[in-house]
């Protein structure tokens, strides 16, 4: 009964975003998909031709593009979720004062967080599904593996969405988003995306291993390449923990910021 009401109200928050979908938005969506694709083509295929094949920690040998592609997939799930829960979420909360109006209805802060996150996940999943299609067509994974990888990309989107929402509640103004952008780019470069985490010096390696994107890449790469050297259960637990913690903190912070 309670869960139904919570779910229904969270859904109404996501529904608002569907109503707000206008032509301009599709351009934003498209760019979010194009970016990782361009990286895949330039680095995966271009640089890959120079690098040749790669031996994974589990002993499997894969071509470089097949190594980079799952990382680009995880990154696009991350950036889709983050752009929705940082820029858009912050704008709605601080500048459009959207949630001030929503909170005058039966909808509660936690349900707003949940609804916005669900929407961010839908957006992230669109990127992921399209990108998985590209990977299959380029023979970088099989259709079956792509299907299995999809839920992992959804979880990735969820975790980064919750993280982004939490960050947004701490932002003072747009200038703080430069920091988020830099952090996101650092994650993109150093999360076992272009080189295996094992190839960094010991200290740096552990920093890399702890990055949430590394965990997402490890999980998805294991599925799309069939490599055995990863830690899928650890990755899953880590991402679920980020999701739960992020959602909890975000809802609490929103209650504090909005229900004064």
């Amino acid at each position: 009964m309670l869960a139904v009401a919570v779910g229904r109200r969270a859904l109404s928050v996501a529904e608002r975003n569907v109503a707000a979908l206008k032509s301009a938005y599709w351009i934003v969506l498209l760019s979010g998909f194009l970016e990782p694709l361009l990286y895949l083509l330039s680095i995966g295929i271009g640089v890959g031709a120079l690098v040749g094949d790669l031996t994974l920690p589990g002993g499997e040998v894969v071509e470089y593009a097949a190594f980079v592609a799952p990382a680009m997939l995880a990154s696009s799930a991350m950036s889709g979720a983050l752009s929705e829960t940082t820029f858009n979420f912050f704008g709605k909360m601080k500048y459009m004062k959207l949630y001030d109006g929503v909170l005058a209805t039966p909808v509660q802060p936690f349900e707003i967080a949940l609804g916005e996150l669900a929407w961010a996940m839908v957006r992230g999943s669109l990127y992921s599904a399209a990108f998985l299609g590209v990977m299959v067509s380029m023979d970088l994974t099989t259709g079956l593996r792509a299907l299995a990888a999809f839920p992992a990309t959804v979880l990735t989107g969820f975790a980064f969405g919750a993280l982004g929402m939490t960050l947004s509640t701490f932002m003072r103004g747009w200038q703080d988003f430069d920091v988020v952008g830099s952090a996101q780019f650092a994650l993109f470069l150093f999360s076992g995306t272009f080189v295996p985490a094992e190839s960094y010096p010991a200290l740096l390696r552990w920093v890399v291993e702890l990055s949430p994107l590394t965990r997402a890449v490890d999980l998805i790469r294991g599925i799309t390449t069939g490599a055995s050297g990863g830690h899928p259960w650890l990755d899953l637990a880590y991402l679920v923990a980020v999701l739960a913690l992020g959602l909890w903190v975000a809802a609490r912070r929103m209650g504090k910021l909005l229900a004064k």
Binding site: R9, S12, A19, M96, P106, Q108, A259
Partner: protein, 319 residues
């Protein structure tokens, strides 16, 4: 719509809004300092006061978006701390600053808002059309919010507050910043709501608005209630029936105050004029002429809520 258990808790004759010793503090600042309020069904109730008097803080507590710091508050027989969603489902809120959704059209603003209350899509669309008609915005249904005038945005916000067919409508300064035509249109619509039996709770610092709309009101100052009653009662209690405004040609008006002493109940000296609070304006004016005083201009008028308000909250600028 709302929790059915919540409805049966309403006891007959219990006021819709019941507050005792209600307090709101922000850190060390006390915005609302122990107020007692009862609002009865079908009533139009006003909170009057200068800026910073605690009106909006009170409204936010009644709207169940701001938890009280102390005291008792019951709305529709329920406790806002526990039954927030159930209470908000039966309230309509028109905030001081329009927070319409700029990414949606006028009509979508209503249909989307209805969904937050769990109203089915079909009903939402139907109600949106009725409400747009009610606030005379049907022709702008497909327009974005941004190009609308201030008055149109206000009317849309009021329509949005009605989308769940609320039992109580909270209006925080509903006509602030509107031109006279827009204000009168809003008043007229609010009056129609009142006739339909909707309970209205509004804040304002416009005296004419309070006199037009409110059956009963409280004057707030510094977080406290300083007076309560119907507009007429307040004028009778805190002012006289009529006011005579005298303007003398001399530099300083103050010199004439002594000469006017004894005429009417009270003499107030302002930098540019002198106010006589009297029962009978003509008689007072005759008395002025008897003392051989010749003001440059004279205005006789009925006492208004504004006189009460200024008497109770002072003439000093608050912010």
């Amino acid at each position: 719509m709302s929790d059915p258990r919540a409805r049966v808790r309403i006891v007959a004759n219990e006021p819709l809004i019941h507050a005792r010793g209600l307090v709101k503090r922000f850190g060390s600042f006390t915005a609302v300092d122990g107020i007692d309020v009862d609002v009865q069904p079908g009533e139009a109730f006003g909170f009057l006061g200068p800026n910073g008097a605690g009106k909006s803080s009170t409204m936010r507590m009644v709207g169940c978006v701001s938890p009280p710091t102390g005291g008792t508050l019951r709305i529709l027989g329920m406790d806002p701390r526990r039954d927030g969603p159930a209470i908000r489902g039966r309230l309509g809120v028109c905030p001081q600053l329009d927070n319409l959704d700029p990414e949606l059209t006028v009509r979508e603003n209503l249909t989307t808002y209805a969904r937050y209350f769990g109203i089915p899509r079909k009903v939402a669309r139907q109600r949106a059309d009725e409400l747009l008609d009610f606030v005379q915005l049907s022709e702008r249904a497909g327009s974005k919010v941004e190009p609308l005038s201030g008055g149109m945005k206000r009317r849309l916000t009021i329509a949005r507050a009605l989308v769940n067919e609320p039992e109580i409508v909270l209006l925080d300064e509903p006509t602030t910043g509107l031109d006279p035509q827009a204000r009168h249109l809003v008043w007229e619509r609010l009056f129609r709501l009142k006739q339909q039996g909707v309970t209205l709770v509004l804040t304002t610092h416009y005296m004419d608005e309070a006199e037009q709309l409110c059956d009963r009101l409280v004057v707030m100052d510094g977080g406290k209630i300083v007076a309560e009653g119907s507009p007429r009662e307040l004028i009778d209690r805190y002012s006289t029936r009529e006011v005579v405004e005298l303007r003398f040609a001399a530099e300083s008006q103050a010199g004439f105050a002594d000469k006017l002493a004894g005429i009417g109940e009270r003499v107030e000296v302002l930098p540019d004029r002198i106010l006589l609070y009297v029962e009978d304006g003509d008689a007072a004016l005759a008395a002025v002429h008897e003392r051989a005083l010749t003001p440059a201009s004279v205005l006789e008028r009925r006492s208004s809520l504004e006189d009460v308000f200024l008497h109770l909250t002072g003439r000093t600028l608050v912010d």
